[in-house]
Amino acid sequence: MKEEDVIIRTVIRLIVPFIQIFGLYVIFHGGSGPGGGFQGGVILAASMILYVMAFGVTGGRRKLTEKTNMIMRSTGVLIFSGIGLLAILFGGKYLDYGAVPLPFIHHAAEVRALLIDGGVEVGIGITVMAVMVTIFLEFYPGGTSDD
């Protein structure tokens, strides 16, 4: 381990949580301001990428194993498309979030806002992050995934 590695690693160890919090902020802020699931997901992925660059693939894999990554990839999509399907289940049309009956909230517009911010954007964020990390690892020397 070289001298500069220590500095880099320490800095990254410090900075990554902040980046991740910023990413989450961007994700949840998507409904009412600039940002949203996609951008937030990219920022989350960036934090992971920074981590991998500093600690190598094995270091990165300790934080985010291949299996978790794959499951995140799938569940993210399942979340946002699943909420869309929920709408169908409750008699609405696909993506018609207003049709989903939630406890305590009865305004269609509010239901929609809540589901988009809390569900769909999160789903997108998870997916984008997982996919970006996957693509990155695909390119990273020595980081090819299983196939």
């Binding site: 009412s32 301001g33 600039p34 996609f38 693509i135 695909e138 390119f139």
Partner: protein, 119 residues
């Protein structure tokens, strides 16, 4: 007249120029990475065009401000271009993955040399 044609629409002129630069790289460059760079420039130029369509002089950012009546710029092109950027980065990723595989198989990423190596 000339002001109308050039100054008022300089965004469009720039987008055409950038598009041509990108297109030139895609067609004329032999290096595959250069081609992909060209593709990126090409698509970004089109995005610029889209954003320019939506621009309204004197408009404001399309962020909803409660209770105020303001002129917004058209947000729809922005949404479209968000999608466009995603598509563009996916294409870049696929292309670069291909380039890596090609380099592993052929040992070069120059198109003319690859064509010689092909059977």
């Amino acid at each position: 007249m000339i002001e109308d044609l050039i100054l008022a629409k300089y965004n469009y002129w720039i987008y055409v120029t950038l598009m041509m630069i990108g297109f030139y790289a895609v067609i004329a460059k032999k290096n595959l990475v250069k081609k992909v760079i060209g593709l990126n420039i090409f698509s970004t130029a089109i995005f610029l065009f889209y954003i320019s369509i939506g621009d309204v002089i004197g408009g404001t950012e399309p962020i909803y401000i409660h209770g105020e009546h303001v002129v917004y710029v058209n947000p729809i092109p922005h949404v479209l271009i968000l999608t466009g950027i995603v598509v563009s980065v996916s294409i870049t990723a696929v292309a670069l993955a291909l380039i890596i595989k090609i380099y592993e198989e052929f040992g070069t990423i120059e198109e003319d040399q690859i064509l010689e190596l092909q059977s």
